[in-house]
Symmetry: C2
Subunit: 559 residues, 2 copies
């Protein structure tokens, strides 16, 4: 049996290696139009910043490795020009000799990956405009920075690669500006989580132009020297990084009559077989599925590509393994912050029609007395109807990756918000608090779903205020904290005095309680509800979260 | 309604606080014979080592806090002498005034905790023998070290507190010896995991006496000056720390006719109600349940105590909440190593009659090119019959807590070994590898359970050798690695040459393959099996794990 694979990064090599582990008898060939195979694209920001100095560390394997270990032929510098599904043939060009030949296959795997999206504007092809994707693209940028010693860099787009590149540029001493069309950075996050990232970027000297996309590039004979935004702002640019996103490489598949899905990537079934029998697709060129909704989604990530590749490897050697889909779990580091997400955001969940319960939980990531800890923000979303967890977003300096993966595991297995409390997570002072922040998150969500102790988000509170609805807002912190700063219009009744002063409050007026992060606010809420108050809300995430509300973001653009 | 709680550490205060959150109408009193309440016993090693300098950090809350926030009366210095279940009364002594009085309750919560086990031998009560439990016991040791500047400390027992205390003593410049009756440190771990901890202790200058319990203490007028082991060794001791374990404080309950369970702790049902209706028990004095087997177990841990306390708080205010049991999840830090476990060890699982599949997975905790990473050892155990995960033990410098909690979440939700591969964990170079070590663990276990690609543990291999069974052992690493050191009797056929040299091997003889950590060994195993070899084993964890096998432990005692 002859297996042909087009593309040799994560999905293609995973599929081929898995196939070989299952059988010694197949002939397996991988066609790669580039030179580098099986590389770690995620390492490129660290390669550019010289944290990773040896290029080979990003490309630990070569064609020889695959031949020796797996008896797989990797043909680098070979571009597949056309697929002939009826004849089960590929038309392949050797890019060195320019020779074109036919290659027969019994089973075909398309793993052509994705390409960075570059807007079709003048100057986008200038030599100092860098879309980031392959190790070669990292080489070019690294070389440019070493030679030209640029002072000003502009990053178009603020997704994960944009964030990592911002850190790299600042480490290299380059004044860095981010231009983002959306009103927030990292558009895959909810806006009230993104504000935490924005503040951190600004604290580290990155300038943000939000809600203001790229309109034009200013060029002269040596390339781009300026960026013009849609609102007309002009930004100095010694070079530009295009980090707007990627688009799946589907031209080859499309030309062969293979169906493209609603996401723009190659449509596949649960076995990752395309619309043409015997032709499979995996990785960034193919559609994935949401494990939560079952719907097609596009998750162009190395971790997903590896999974899909392996499943294809199984299915082309006789298995019938289903891909159960992903949660879009993602994490990145930007300066001292780790930012991760898994499952649905509040916005996504609402768009999909869920009746959502959300919580903002701000907690220390470990025992506060053990040195080196910091606080975490967890925003979690659950489905009020079923109680099931839908997603979580986590931001902080330490312990973010742990909480994201714990949430991802629970959500994958269908956990309900009220089940977290009974999960036996590990506790020791350097690693957690006796009740882990994940446990607390589950507890607060459970209260929100099952009890009358409702949360109100800072922006919901501000909306109510604008609507002119009568509201008693009680700051239950000690007077010295209240004096330093408090929610507009709040009165101060410290929790310790609340029971005595309860007679002076009107139980029929909607009441909002808050403390610094939410715990004392919740205790106060319980007291008021237990004393017959009709409707009491606790501010989700407390004063710390209110201060960070997106509607307060007038200061974000620091030109 | 009057609620009385005996004991004010984790479980007692959790129960009381939860009860108050549910109702404002109950009268709630906590009786505490000591002075410190709601303290973090887990912080004591760090308090002794002066990493935590302020005693108050371990005791963030006092009686006043509970009165103000929860309207709960905490009576410190009040010892409950007797429970009269028929009259629903307590006999209480005010330890300051020596006044004895009766206190009526409608519902009672016993949260009397546990005490360190101190063997009944001469000298055990000397002033320089320190059982560690309360903050006061930490004060005493800390004061003794400051005043006496001891040079030699001996720790009896090597559980989690023993490990943490060893690190603290070494940090204080004290020559530290551990005496342990079992043949390994941390008896809750499997022996082949404990060896990793033993090496690390020795590398940090801790001397170990294993398989050699405490026989006697040598004393003079100023206290203990030496420890004698069961094998007759004498060890200099300027002071002794008793860290043998804890026993539940059940005398009060027993005297009241409350049933004690098979574990020696107070027997409770799923609602944490004791054998006497209206009397609940929670925390270190009470039995817990294994979430895996449903059987009673004894898990004296703060995290479990908090959970049990909260469930009791619910159930004494009208709820019927079931405690779903724990996994005995534990983690500790010792020098640069984190050591964690969740669920059953191989030994426990075998004792309980499971037909187990085990794997030793040695992997980098993050992308090797990203600075600061290290390798992890994961030993995981699954049930061959059902495929379900039973437990995991994880050792390493970074990322241990994450993997333990991910395993704990999966195991709590009944995950099967073959489901891990499809869990969408977060990937970025600073946090993980594209396939996380947990994912790999699941994949290897799945191969072990579902396929012919069996693993053999280093000690199983040595057993086979002793039994004289014919065996071809193939080291598939490059010659330069083989030359540096290899498994006794192994021949060297690098993986790259295996296909060519396969004709020279006898497919009917049992064959063992291995590489450094297991991956190439598995690739070789696949090749041999696919070429018709009858029985091929891959060494679990490879050469790195073989070097650490418990049967090679002659060097552990470094007197």
């Amino acid at each position: 049996m002859k297996i042909a694979v087009i593309g040799s990064v994560a999905a293609g090599t995973s599929a081929a290696a898995k196939a070989r582990r299952n059988t010694e008898s197949a002939e397996i060939a991988i066609f790669e139009k580039g030179v580098d195979i099986s590389y770690s694209a995620c390492g490129i920001p660290y390669y550019v910043s010289d944290m990773v100095t040896d290029r080979k560390q990003l490309i630990p394997r070569d064609a020889n490795f695959f031949k020796e270990r797996y008896n797989i032929d990797v043909l680098i510098g070979h571009e597949v020009l056309k697929i002939f599904p009826d004849d089960k043939q590929l038309e392949v060009e050797n890019l060195v000799t320019r020779q074109i030949f036919k290659h027969h296959y019994d089973l075909l795997v398309i793993a052509t990956g994705a390409s960075p999206f570059v807007p079709p504007i003048k100057g986008a092809d200038a030599p100092n405009v860098f879309p980031i994707r392959t190790v070669e693209s990292g080489d070019k940028l690294k070389m440019f920075i070493k030679r030209s010693k640029p002072a000003h860099g502009v990053i178009i787009g603020s997704g994960f690669i944009g964030m990592e590149m911002a850190e790299s540029l600042v480490h290299l001493g380059i004044k860095t500006v981010i231009v983002e069309k959306a009103a927030q950075v990292v558009p895959s996050l909810d806006p009230d989580v993104a504000t935490w990232v924005e503040r951190h970027l600004q604290e580290n000297g990155v300038e943000l132009f939000l809600a203001d996309g790229l309109a034009a590039l200013e060029t002269n004979e040596s390339g781009v020297y300026g960026v013009v935004t849609e609102s007309g702002k002009r930004i100095r640019a010694d070079f530009v990084i295009m980090a707007i996103g990627v688009k799946p490489n589907v031209a080859l598949a499309k030309a062969a009559g293979i169906a493209i899905g609603e996401t723009g990537a190659i449509k596949v079934d649960k076995y990752l077989e395309s619309s043409i029998k015997g032709i499979y697709a995996a990785g960034d060129c193919a559609e994935s599925f949401s494990r939560i909704t079952g719907r097609p989604v596009y998750y162009p990530q190395g971790s997903t590509a590896n999974k899909m590749g392996r499943i294809v490897g199984q299915n082309i050697t006789g298995a019938r393994e289903e891909f159960q889909g992903g949660l879009g779990t993602r994490i990145f580091k930007v300066f001292d912050l780790a930012v991760g997400q898994t499952g649905l955001t509040e916005n996504e969940a609402k768009r999909l029609g869920y009746e959502v319960a959300t919580v903002h939980n701000i907690k220390p990531n470990q025992q506060p007395y053990y040195p080196g800890g910091s606080k975490l923000l967890i925003k979690a979303v659950a489905d009020r109807q079923t109680g099931k967890m839908l997603g979580a977003q986590v931001v902080g300096s330490h312990g973010v990756d742990k909480r994201v993966d714990v949430f991802a595991t629970g959500i994958s297995l269908g956990i309900k918000a009220n089940e977290w409390f009974q999960i036996d997570l590990g506790y020791a002072p350097p690693y957690s608090t006796t009740k882990d922040p994940v446990t607390y998150t589950g507890m607060i969500l459970t209260n929100e779903i099952e009890k009358e102790t409702h949360l109100i988000s800072p922006d919901e509170l501000e909306q109510r205020r604008e609507d002119g609805r009568p509201l008693t807002i009680i700051d239950v912190r000690p007077p010295e904290e209240y004096t330093t700063g408090h929610v507009t219009g709040a009165i101060n009744i410290p929790l310790a005095n609340l029971r005595q002063r309860i007679g002076g409050l009107d139980p029929d007026v909607d009441t909002v309680t808050y403390c610094n992060a939410g715990t004392s606010g919740n205790a106060s809420q319980n007291i008021l509800l237990n004393h017959g108050f009709k409707s009491v809300f606790n501010i989700s995430g407390g004063y710390q979260n209110w201060k960070m509300r997106p509607s307060s973001k007038q200061t974000v653009v620091m030109v």
